[in-house]
């Protein structure tokens, strides 16, 4: 005879406690802040959805959000194809493969703020090699003065820093394809493009999905590089969502709106990842015709 009781709950209690302290309690603190106006430790007023409403009406947020979306989209559109192209061009085996992997992976080892500092100096028009060279070529370039220059610099910096991650993932995906596929394709008379389209791309689907999700989440949370480069300027050209949040929470000490926005920010990332994941899962499955 089977016994029915709730003893199983005790077995998952350790996990519940761990998750509670690491995720649920901090999150609930934010929720707590987001629905109250805390004037002093002894004086707080429940305000309901008020902070959410005010944050949603904030035109600074709208600006930061659209800049953020354009930036993340540009990151994906550049880094994913570029990463796949580099992975395809890399040698498959031997010492050349090892050397290429080490060289490609180097940028990944550099901390965010160092990357920001490197490009901050690299791009200066007086002492920076890049900035000086571009100006010497007759193109006016100044990331502290021009919004577009600053924006492009942050994008190039991110491409330089993070495309290697896409390369490594795509390379791993390519190496896992058995030789028989390439041999069968040769016998079938397939072109180079057909090999890529019908063998390499489908076989890389899973790793590319991971690459897209990682690059989307990371780029959506970008903070350090624009902060080091121009502090979000000029004006607010490189003020992305994280900068906006920090300005609210630390700069102006508006904890209520900052907490409300944190929750919205969190939900946006969750939503986008879900949509991307579902879309890529569907891609290349399900019957045609």
């Amino acid at each position: 005879m089977k016994t029915y009781n709730n003893r199983a709950w005790f077995l998952i209690l350790p996990v519940i406690i761990c998750v509670a302290f690491s995720a649920i309690l901090p999150l609930m603190t934010i929720v707590n802040y987001s629905v109250q106006d805390i004037i002093s430790p002894t004086q707080k007023i429940f305000v309901g959805m008020e902070w959410f409403r005010s944050v949603m009406r904030d035109s600074d947020l709208h600006g930061a959000l659209s800049r953020q979306l354009v930036f993340s989209l540009a990151v994906l559109l550049i880094q994913i194809p570029l990463g796949v192209l580099i992975a395809l061009a890399m040698p498959a085996s031997g010492w050349r493969a090892s050397l290429a992997l080490v060289l490609i992976a180097l940028p990944l080892l550099i901390p965010w703020n160092v990357v920001g500092t490197i490009w901050q100096i690299f791009g200066r028009d007086d002492i920076g090699l890049l900035g000086h060279a571009i100006n010497a070529a007759g193109i006016s370039y100044n990331y502290t003065g021009s919004s577009i220059d600053a924006w492009v610099t942050v994008l190039v910096m991110d491409v330089w820093h993070w495309t290697p991650l896409v390369v490594l993932l795509a390379y791993a995906g390519l190496r896992s394809i058995p030789d028989a596929y390439y041999q069968a394709a040769r016998i079938d008379g397939a072109s180079r493009w057909a090999v890529f389209r019908f063998i390499e791309l489908p076989k890389m689907r899973n790793v590319l999905m991971i690459a897209v999700l990682l690059r989307f989440m990371d780029s959506f949370m970008i903070y350090t590089e624009p902060f080091v480069l121009t502090g979000g300027g000029p004006g607010n050209a490189t003020t992305f969502l994280s900068q906006y949040l920090t300005q609210k929470a630390v700069g102006q000490f508006d904890l209520g709106p900052a907490a409300a926005f944190s929750l919205i920010y969190f939900l946006i990332i969750l939503l986008f990842c879900f949509v991307l994941y579902t879309w890529m899962q569907r891609l290349g499955t399900g019957d045609q015709k």
């Binding site: 041999q183 016998i187 072109s191 019908f198």
Partner: protein
Amino acid sequence: MARIELQQLAHAYRPNPTVPADYALRPMTMTWDDGGAYALLGPSGCGKTTLLNIISGLVKPSHGRVLFDGKDVTDLPPEARNIAQVFQFPVIYDTMTVFDNLAFPLRNRGWKEAAIRQRVEHVGAMLELSGDLKHRASGLSVDAKQKISLGRGLVRPDVAAVLFDEPLTVIDPHLKWLLRRKLKEIHHELKLSLIYVTHDQIEALTFADQVVVMTQGEVVQTGSAQDLFEQPQHTFVGYFIGNPGMNLLACTVADGMAGIGGHHFPLPAAVWQALEPLQHSSGGQARLGIRPEYVECLAAPQDGSLPATIISMRDLGTHYLAEFQLGANRVAAKLARSAGQPGAMAWLHFPPQRTLYYVNEQRVA
């Protein structure tokens, strides 16, 4: 349709091979007839896949020529040869339907869509894939996928030979049997040359008209199942084919007599004639080969019989599998009835017409 000729073909992965061990494939000259079913049989790493890849053009041989119907194709890439190949693991294009998979080689060759449809439907029906043509290939079972791999070869009407590289390894045993029968049917219907690589002797012997046995990069014998069983030309063929393989016993030969473990018996005149000229080079040493199926066990000593001790006697239902100690040799035998308990004495008799002699691994008589 094509007759495949290999002229002085050899392959080494390193440049400038000197000793035989440098070769992945040792020099060989062979002709495979149009429309034949051939099996390349040998243990893993014996060079049979290398040979297959040379014929399909995936590997360019370091020495020698490959001819299809007298035309030299050694330097042609695989897509320019009228060859199809089926690999160990099914190769299918995951994102395509079964129809598109089968149509792929034709589309790559610029066929019109109407002609493609007709051809694919014909081949699909032959492989019993008609019902699945609209389905995505990635969702099918392994045996259906392997049929698609085969189908991509068969849709091309110009294909002269289909090469198989251990195609049934990943298939369930009962489906293996069905697929092998399907292959036979297609062979009869399309009169294609089939070359089939395997390390499974049952698969090779049931599938092929001619079996090419290879070991260490060398072809040691080509023949029918019966030839390989009854007339192994090389000791490797003797013990690789058959279950258990041929008994190979070290023996001395001198003055028309053979000796095993101190016991002597006369050699037939024809055998001694063949062995005598080799006396110097072999130092009077030879190997006697006899299939376990032909070993006779006597209850009492007889002229020419050899005393042995029974080591084991297993009842396998249809027959007894016995093992004997004969001098320094172990002898396996398949017997109709038990010859006694382990430890007991027995007298073995090797029928002269079933007994073969080998010097330096090659059959002499």
